[in-house]
């Protein structure tokens, strides 16, 4: 029997697997024990070798496992997916070790050593996170400075608006042709009226709450909702304008789109808050929130227009020619033939634009509207609750991540759905 390290040949091919698995498991075991129980079983080794020891024996183990074809499904899958070459094996080990090392501190900070009971800062005694802070400020993060006893108004307004959004699904067959009309014109108006009368109040015996008190996550929703429903029609008009045969309309659309796409949103918001009031008649006052919504709408409409233009361009020329040969005019052609097909094509793109819009809304913080990021900044500087910035931002990040991830997954599904249909 010859024994060489590179091609270890024995009568039993399983020997390699046994040795390799043993070394591999040993290396993981070493790191696991070290990170969870803080026990260094290789402390007898000199200096830096202790650190690299699991890596080295893990690598040797994986290369043993890789040496021979065994026919065992699990091992073959392992070789195929995480253990193809030495380099891949190294990366695999590094990832496993990083995860193992990262779990204990993250776990102890987030859960084991964290506090959630109590109502004041003093309740937080552990070295971990202070979720009491989030618990106490939760209503502020959600509703801003909106009076506590009036929160039902925001909730009911949102429920109403969402419910109305689903009404379209239940339209009877003979009403279906008005669906677009409903969503583009009637729905925004009704939604605006609901939000205005219910959240702002001032009539029907409801107390007036000025927009300065609005805030938190609900403000994020309000701003993104309005920008979303207003920027879509505007974007459509601009997209049609950019593809028009009429030079004046085309160039005006191009100028508009390129201008808004060329400037950062933050300067647009600055413009809406300091420059725009100068352009209005003297005694005409426009609420800051309204100005911000207008600014974001104008800004996002340019991006929307480019997405819709992509859809218009993707339609084959034959569609235009066919519609024209039936004697349809410009508007008839677009409303009944072109737009229904083009808009179906761009739904994923539009969803992505809306996703960007939602991610951009925290920016309204810079003009002094306290949505979630703004409330966090406020809470962070509250003298009673100093030093909990980390918890606040992690909380906000989790909330935004869930919203955005859900949206992006939804748009991905839409994309797949419409791809297969064509």
């Amino acid at each position: 029997m010859k024994l060489s390290l590179t091609t270890l040949k024995t009568n039993n091919p399983m020997t390699n697997i046994y040795i390799g698995s043993l070394l591999f498991i040993l290396s993981i075991f070493d790191v696991f024990i070290y990170s969870f129980l803080n026990l260094n079983i290789t402390s007898f080794l000199p200096g830096n070798l202790t650190i690299f020891f699991p890596l080295i024996i893990g690598l040797i183990g994986l290369s043993f496992i890789r040496m021979e074809y065994t026919g065992i499904k699990f091992i073959d899958n392992l070789n195929k997916h995480i253990n193809t070459t030495n380099f891949n094996a190294l990366l695999t080990l590094l990832i496993i070790f990083t995860v193992l090392k990262a779990i204990p501190p993250a776990l102890s900070w987030m859960i084991l050593d964290a506090n959630i009971s109590g109502e004041t800062k003093e309740a937080c005694t552990g070295t971990g996170a202070c979720w009491t802070y989030i618990k106490v400020w939760f209503k502020r993060f959600m509703y801003g400075m909106y009076p506590n006893e009036l929160h039902w108004r925001i909730n009911s307004a949102f429920i109403l608006v969402i419910a109305l959004g689903f009404v379209g699904y239940f339209f009877k067959e003979n009403l279906k042709k008005y669906l677009a009309l409903y969503y583009v014109i009637i729905y925004p108006i009704i939604a605006f009226l609901i939000i205005y009368y219910l959240i702002s109040g001032g009539s029907f015996g409801l107390v007036w709450v000025e927009t300065g008190a609005w805030g938190g996550l609900s403000l994020t929703f309000i701003v993104s909702f309005f920008c979303l429903i207003f920027c879509f029609p505007l974007g459509m008009i601009l997209a049609l304008g950019r593809r028009s045969n009429l030079p004046a309309i085309r160039y005006i659309s191009i100028c508009y789109i390129e201008f808004w796409r060329g400037v950062p949103l933050i300067t647009v918001l600055f413009m809406s808050s300091v420059m725009f009031p100068m352009f209005l008649p003297e005694d005409f006052f426009m609420d800051k929130l309204v100005r911000v919504i207008i600014a974001i709408t104008l800004f996002e409409a340019a991006y929307c227009a480019e997405v819709i233009r992509g859809g218009l361009q993707a339609l084959p020329r034959g569609q235009y020619d066919a519609a024209k040969s039936l004697g349809m005019g410009y508007w008839k052609m677009h409303i009944f033939v072109i737009l229904p097909q083009a808009l179906k094509l761009v739904i994923p793109g539009i969803a992505n634009t809306f996703l960007a819009l939602v991610k951009d809304t925290p920016l309204i913080f810079v003009v002094g509207l306290a949505e979630l990021a703004g409330m966090l900044a406020l809470a962070k500087t509250n003298p009673k609750w100093l030093g909990f910035a980390m918890e606040g931002y992690i909380f906000a990040a989790i909330i935004f991540w869930i919203i955005c991830y859900a949206m992006s997954k939804y748009s991905y599904n839409l994309e797949r759905k419409y791809k297969t249909e064509r």
Binding site: T267, F270, M271, E282, L363, Y393
Partner: protein, 383 residues
């Protein structure tokens, strides 16, 4: 005739509409400014700015003009964008390639990296790094050195600065090296086309890049010294580092957040580009007898880059625009200094916001024009 009028009417109406809006705004602005006693003009640019900036690349103090403050602030913006672009490209390419790895763990880690950083608003990420992560760093007196000579502290990152003697000689040597490499490459290409010989261009280039600047040290009298950051005690409990270059935490937070966020988008572009090349290309190249390196260099990359570069440039542009979020953590960029402080002091809202927007617009249009030119150059020339 009828048709012409039919085409003319909507155009005239649109133009009229636009002119009316602009006219309405101009008249209102005139009235408003008259009422408040503000006059329109750019004369203020020459006035003394009289505010300080925390971090500048060029010499600046409060006695300089607003125009100079604008230039300095613009440079700060460009610095952040430049650093962000470099780091996001490196990260993005690595993650993009990793997303296509055969290794299950690597592929999924990369996918989760992308999903994680892409779906958190950039502003929150910047806040997180600035207010939460960087605040957990040690104070100057307890800071451990990184790589021996640099110090990461709560007050910023201290790195050694370089002190050059006869820097011009060094620079001209470097330029000479680059120019000669370009010429040698052209010559090598011609030689290959004419005689089929291949020069080892890569090694020649590396050699030239090392040898020529090295010569300037030996013969040209160039000297390079490092000034190390040294801990200095100001008072009983207050320490700072002196000497070297101090990168403020605002800059670090901004660059980290921008590059992590944008790298996810770059990664997606890279992945799409590599996936966009059909397998047949690789197999065809292999069957012609090219080795894996040559396949990557001569067949895959030129085609993949054609797909990758346009959307990636778009992301660079987004990064540049997003760098304006610096204003939220008080990094002295264009928006904070000019549209913030200068606007407060002068009250010239229209001029200042206009200049700021125009600056960003110019950068965007310049890059877009460059992109169009590049696209024309690399597009597949069909007969």
């Amino acid at each position: 005739m009828n048709n012409k009028i039919k085409k003319l009417i909507p155009q005239v109406l649109t133009i009229l509409f636009v002119v009316l809006i602009f006219g309405f705004f101009t008249i209102n602005a005139q009235v408003n400014m008259d009422n408040r006693g503000i006059d329109f003009g750019f004369g203020f640019l020459k006035q003394e700015a009289s505010f300080d900036m925390q971090f500048t690349l060029l010499d600046y103090d409060g006695q300089d003009s607003y125009l100079w403050a604008y230039v300095v602030a613009l440079l700060n913006t460009l610095l952040v964008s430049f650093l962000g672009i470099i780091f996001c490209t490196i990260l993005g390419v690595i993650i993009g390639v990793a997303r296509l790895s055969q290794n299950f763990l690597i592929r999924n880690s990369a996918a989760w990296y992308v999903e994680f950083f892409r779906n958190i608003p950039l502003l929150l990420q910047i806040f997180f790094w600035y207010y939460a992560a960087l605040r957990a760093l040690p104070l100057p007196e307890t800071a451990e050195p990184w790589f021996g000579v640099t110090y990461m502290t709560i007050k910023g990152y201290y790195i050694p600065s370089m002190i050059w003697e006869n820097f011009n000689v060094f620079l001209s040597c470097l330029i000479a090296a680059i120019v000669s490499i370009i010429f040698i490459r052209i010559y090598a290409k011609k030689l290959q086309e004419r005689e089929g010989k291949q020069l080892p261009i890569f090694y020649i280039s590396i050699g030239l890049l090392i040898i020529l600047p090295l010569l300037s040290f030996l013969i040209g009298g160039v000297k390079l010294d490092f000034e190390l950051p040294v801990l200095k005690q100001l008072a009983q409990t207050s320490f700072i580092f002196e000497g070297g270059i101090a990168l403020p935490p605002e800059l670090i937070a901004l660059v980290v957040a921008l590059s992590l966020y944008t790298s996810t988008f770059v990664a997606e572009c890279v992945r799409a580009g590599i996936q966009g090349i059909s397998k047949g290309q690789k197999e065809a190249a292999a069957s012609v007898g090219l080795n894996p390196n040559q396949i990557l260099k001569l067949v895959i990359m030129p085609q993949a880059l054609r797909i990758i570069i346009p959307p990636t440039t778009n992301q660079y542009l987004n990064l540049t625009k997003n760098s304006s979020l610096a204003a939220a953590i008080a990094y002295p960029d264009l928006v904070l200094v000019f549209a913030g402080t200068a606007l407060m002091q002068t009250g010239k809202a229209i001029e200042i916001v206009g200049i700021t927007m125009l600056t960003y617009l110019t950068i965007s249009l310049l890059i877009a024009a460059l992109m169009n030119w590049y696209n024309k150059k690399i597009e597949i020339k069909e007969k």
